[in-house]
């Protein structure tokens, strides 16, 4: 904590122990010490604030806040109090209060550079650009230092960037910023590089490219020295904007061949071709390590000339020969495949096999052994061989093989994999094995076989080979990612948890690859793990906001003006992340499913979450898809790769699913508040309005849900298939086909009808009552159908084969979620019907004569309904118990593995281990689902009258 250096001030000496306690996390002692001090020195405001910090940190937010406000209203001007309050407000996530604090301080001490500067930073933290502009100027007037002036200018630029109206930016903010800088230029007051950078930013944003170019090339440009080639890069950018191609060309020449002072200008295709050919020849003659650039440039030029239909490409040579030449030079580098992959389209399909054969001639392999394979003698030869295998896959030559051919390929790749392990014997645990990629390719061919033939044995062997790979190369992230994906597809989430945590994902990765985890955790019934994985992601997103503000301020301090809009864009990109919105929503839904009406009522849960049905905080129109959908290596040919269209469809599907979920959540919040008896403080009038407002929210949300489900149906009709290694499909299709969405919607619809009954009463509502009873019955039918879709064996052994049906598990989760929703509605029904019933009984007591009157339909219907619900939940529990029993009874050890598949004993062991993991995971899911169902069954009991 700051401001402790001045030992001279007696107050500092008095406060020091409190600071120390706070720093050491001893908040209780800090509070005590502060109280002691305040007894002697009532006016030592800072002690109060420090006490408030202690209170805040021990969870006494309200007390802390009122104590802080006591001091704040005095408008303190001592450093200690101000800084302590700043810290406190930041911890309270109320940065706007810091601005108020310094506004007052600046008024009282108008000549303080420090307070003015704090005020500017406080505005920066909350993004008040206009006030920043003024504060910067006020600061400059107090202390005429250049940086302050330019803080003000930058704040104008920020106003331009954040302006909704681009015209306002172009005609007001930016021109004003430009004039402010020009004034300093005229007065020859420009001092720092940052100021020139900012000037450039303004001119560029104004589209004044000529002026920007002149400025960069002129004396001001001489200040641009920190970044390498800063001036050149800026000139190049402007040349391109101005389409000054000759200048562009000459500058590129100079930059590319650094030794040349002045480059000749190439204006024709022929010259460009000659230039590239010359570079290759130079590179050929060189003794030192050859560079890839010239050779790749040649392929790139062919590619571009073809796009334009230019005949000059022939001058550059035959792409096939050029690629062979490239392979000859760089085939032993791991990046060779990445380099060549993007130019393979230059080869006509009929050349593919020839290309593969000729590449093979360039790979030095040893004598062919008994198994029919020759092996590389060193890692360079291994890398070359590997590159040919990869190229052959990218060319689609592996995909055209028949099943037999693919199995042979697997045998060959496995042999190479095992042989290559000897080169990595001395590798550290953290290093990859040289032959790891063979193993990964084996897995890919197994996946091909599995998806083509549906033979699940292929999948089990695939898991085995990957587990084996991981045992030799425990740091290989690609092994882990693919294992993770396969286990998820198999519906086995338990092994995924460890795999993901061993990936050691950090910060942004929670956003880019978190989807791999969160898509499956909840949907497979592993609720505890789901909760944990949502938390990983949420923790990161929540810290982002605070972190970025801090560094925006630093960027001002260090004059890194270009970084300020970048940091803000970064923060926005994270805040608008699809994944963020998903985990936010799923986290709350999960909490409701697992806790509401079990540990606390639905209403309490909703309130604790701060959920408001009217509020929608998801940026539907600006959603950012930050998922890294190509994180898994793929060597699939172009026609099997992930396309832009896939990305678009996946985002569309995920967004609609998110909409369904977020509407469900808001509907549940709405339902919870319906049950809430109007508080007595409100007048009768607002009472009435309150209730009708709530039901109209429910109505609006229901019709939105209805519309969304219609869109959803259209989307699922498309039955989009993504590449296996691409994005997983969302839960949308199975949610619709299981019937759970519609069942939940009708349950929520029912709550609206019940609300109507509440106002109408039992008399004169026979139609309404019948309607409600019909809904009761229909819900039972729907739940019964949903449950019947869960029936079947999730894992079974047939003819010595192990078969899985993970979709049963997913449907069971939908069933459980739907049961939760229906039971909440049932609980609401009870809350509506109970008072109606007791008032009926009162009436009955009065009119003893009419005691023969039959019970109203809706009451008997409700009793019947809860009975049926009880029945369904019991059935479901029996099903879960049955599944658990048959899973436990499955003796996987009895399976004979490896027959006819050339699997070694060791490989079989890994396959078996994978099978065990799947079995255990299924059991885990069933247990969690069973537990939740049992708790729900208990809550049903309280619904009886």
């Amino acid at each position: 904590m700051a401001a402790r250096g001045h030992v001279q001030d007696p107050n500092d000496r008095r406060l020091r122990p409190i600071y120390d306690y706070l720093d050491n996390g001893n908040n209780k002692m800090a509070i005590q010490q502060a109280d002691k001090l305040l007894k002697k020195h009532k006016d030592l405001h800072c002690a109060k604030v420090l006490k408030a910090i202690g209170l805040q940190r021990t969870g006494k937010q309200d007390e802390a806040f009122s104590l802080a406000q006591e001091v704040a209203t005095l408008e303190p001007t001592d450093d200690n109090s101000l800084q302590a309050l700043t810290i406190l407000y930041r911890e309270m996530h109320r940065p706007e209060l810091v601005t108020k604090l310094y506004e007052a301080a600046v008024k009282k001490v108008p000549l303080s550079e420090e307070y003015h500067s704090h005020l500017f930073m406080a505005y920066a933290r909350v993004g008040e650009y206009k006030k920043m502009q003024q504060a910067g100027m006020a600061l400059y007037k107090t202390v005429p230092k250049n940086p302050y002036y330019f803080w003000s200018v930058m704040s104008l630029v920020m106003q331009a960037i954040s302006a909704q109206d681009e015209k306002l930016a172009q005609t007001m903010f930016l021109p004003l910023a430009e004039r402010m800088v020009e004034k300093m230029v005229k007065e020859e007051k420009i001092e720092a590089e940052a100021e020139v950078q900012l000037y450039f930013m303004i001119l560029e944003r104004l589209g004044k490219y000529v002026e920007a170019l002149d400025m960069v090339r002129g004396p001001l440009g001489e200040k641009l020295t920190s970044e390498l080639q800063s001036r050149e890069n800026k000139c190049m950018m402007m040349y391109q904007r101005l389409q000054l191609w000759p200048e562009c060309n000459a500058l590129s020449y100079k930059l590319l061949l650094k030794n040349c002072v002045e480059g000749p200008v190439h204006t024709t295709v022929a010259e460009a071709v000659k230039f590239v050919v010359d570079r290759m020849e130079e590179e050929d003659k060189k003794d030192s390590r050859p560079l890839r650039g010239p050779y790749m440039a040649c392929l790139e030029l062919i590619h571009r000339l073809r796009q334009r239909g230019c005949p000059d490409e022939e001058e550059l040579g035959d792409p096939l020969e050029l690629m062979l030449q490239f392979f000859g030079k760089f085939g032993d580098k791991p990046c060779c495949i990445t380099d060549l992959k993007i130019y393979l389209h230059l080869l006509p399909p009929e050349q593919h096999t020839q290309f593969e054969n000729r590449l093979g001639e360039l790979v030095p392999l040893g004598e062919v052994g008994e198994d029919g394979f020759g092996f590389p003698g060193d890692t360079k030869a291994l890398q070359r061989h590997l590159c040919v295998c990869q190229l052959s896959r990218v060319l689609g030559l592996q995909h055209t093989l028949d099943t037999e051919g693919k199995l042979c390929l697997i045998t060959e790749l496995k042999a190479h994999y095992h042989y290559g392990l000897q080169f990595g014997k001395s590798c550290l645990k953290t290093e990859l094995q040289f032959s790891d990629t063979y193993c990964l390719m084996v897995a890919h061919v197994y996946i091909d076989l599995w998806t083509e033939t549906g033979d699940e044995n292929m999948l089990w062997q695939c898991l085995g080979v990957l587990e084996e790979g991981l045992s030799y190369s425990p740091s290989n992230a690609q092994f882990k990612l693919l294992l993770l994906l396969l286990f998820c597809r198999l519906g086995a989430f338990q092994p995924v948890v460890d795999l993901y945590s061993s990936l050691d994902a950090k910060h942004v990765q929670h956003d880019t690859i978190g989807y791999l985890l969160t898509r499956y955790a909840g949907s497979l019934g592993q609720f505890a793990a789901a909760s944990q994985s949502y938390n990983f992601s949420l923790r990161f997103f929540h810290s982002n906001q605070k972190d970025t503000s801090e560094y925006i301020i630093q960027a001002y301090k260090y004059g890194a003006f270009e970084k300020i809009p970048e940091f803000i864009a970064f923060r926005t990109r994270l805040n608008q992340s699809l994944h963020f919105a998903q985990v936010r929503t799923e986290r709350m839904l999960l909490d409701l499913y697992t806790e509401a009406d079990i540990t606390s009522s639905l209403e309490e849960s909703v309130k604790a979450m701060g959920l408001c049905p009217e509020e929608d905080d998801i940026p539907w129109d600006n959603m950012r898809d930050n998922r890294d959908l190509t994180v898994l290596f793929s060597w699939d040919p172009k026609d099997r790769e992930l396309t832009e269209e896939h990305r678009r469809l996946s985002l569309e599907e995920e967004s609609v699913w998110l909409k369904v979920r977020s509407l469900t959540l808001r509907l549940l919040a709405s339902l919870a508040l319906l049950g809430h008896a109007p508080s007595k403080r409100n007048s009768d009038k607002t009472n009435e309005n309150g209730v009708s407002a709530k039901s109209s929210t429910l109505q609006t949300l229901l019709s939105q849900l209805d519309l969304t489900l219609q869109t959803a149906a259209q989307i699922t009709e498309k039955q989009t298939q993504y590449p296996f290694l691409g994005p997983p499909s969302s839960r949308l299709a199975s949610a619709l086909s299981s019937g759970s969405c519609h069942c939940q919607a009708s349950a929520l619809q029912l709550s609206l009808t019940l609300q109507e009954l509440e106002t109408t009463g039992l008399d004169d509502s026979s139609e309404l009552q019948t309607q409600i009873c019909n809904s009761f019955k229909s819900l039972i039918v729907q739940l019964q159908e949903l449950l019947s879709r869960c029936k079947g064996d999730v894992l079974e052994m047939k003819d010595s084969r192990l078969m899985t049906q993970p979709s049963l598990l997913e449907t069971l989760v939908f069933f459980v979620e739907t049961v939760c929703v229906v039971l909440w509605v049932a609980s609401y029904s009870a809350s509506v019907l109970r008072p109606l019933k007791s008032s009926l009984q009162k009436k009955k007591k009065k009119k003893t004569k009419d005691s023969s009157t039959a019970m109203p339909v809706v009451l008997s219907g409700f009793q019947e309904w809860t009975g049926s619900l009880q029945g369904i939940v019991t059935q479901a529990l029996d099903h879960v118990k049955g599944q658990e029993a048959s899973l436990t009874a499955l003796k996987l050890a009895a399976l004979t593995l490896g027959v006819g598949h050339a699997q070694t004993q060791e490989e079989c062991g890994f396959t078996r281990a994978a099978m065990d993991k799947v079995q255990t995971s299924y059991l885990g899911s069933l247990q969690e689902l069973g537990d939740l169902l049992r708790k729900r069954a208990d809550s049903l009991k309280s619904l009886k009258f």
């Binding site: 790749m296 791991p334 982002n544 560094y551 630093q554 970048e566």
Partner: protein, 179 residues
């Protein structure tokens, strides 16, 4: 064919192939990257392949007292994705960092490396760095690995004409004794 350019925040989203999945042993959080971007943006350079893949990056800073002739460039992180190794990329990135440090008038460039990381130590030696001193238990224990010592390696820049800055200190030092 490699593009060398300033690192931007958006690159963090493309980090998957270089950063974590490499057992890159340092645990950097977002604030760490942002701090470098805000303070020393010129020292944060990324290499990009023609297909858009990130090949590697270097991150550094300038620090130390000019008066005591300790003003220098520091290599905070240098990382190259496995598939783009053995292309001389690390050397190129180091060269750039040295050039920036030259321009800033630094006396030397320094870096810390695990004593066990023989590959890296040798690479830095090839690039003209020498061990200046050993820092005891500079790397704190993680993932079951014990604490580990670091070499503080240095290379003199042209401003240090007598190459005083790289004269080795014979006795190892503790982390708290270095700046």
């Amino acid at each position: 064919m490699t593009t060398l350019r300033a690192f931007t925040c958006d690159d963090l989203f493309k980090f998957n192939n270089i950063q974590a999945f490499l057992n890159f042993l340092s645990q950097y959080g977002i604030p760490f990257y942002l701090q470098y971007l805000a303070h020393w943006p010129e020292y944060f350079i990324v290499a990009e392949a023609p297909g858009g893949e990130l090949m590697g990056y270097i991150m550094g800073k300038a620090e130390g007292s000019v008066a005591r002739e300790e003003w220098h460039g520091h290599v905070t992180a240098l990382s190259v994705a496995p598939e783009f190794r053995r292309l001389g990329l690390a050397a190129k990135l180091m060269e750039m960092l040295e050039e920036i440090s030259e321009r800033k008038g630094g006396f030397f460039v320094d870096l810390f490396v695990r004593v066990s990381n023989q590959v890296a130590v040798n690479m830095y030696k090839q690039l003209g760095y020498s061990v200046y001193r050993t820092v005891i238990e500079y790397y704190s224990a993680s993932n079951g690995e014990p604490d580990e010592d670091a070499y503080d390696m240095r290379k003199a820049l042209s401003r240090d004409t007598e190459r005083k800055s790289i004269i080795p200190i014979p006795h190892p030092v503790r982390p708290e004794d270095i700046e």
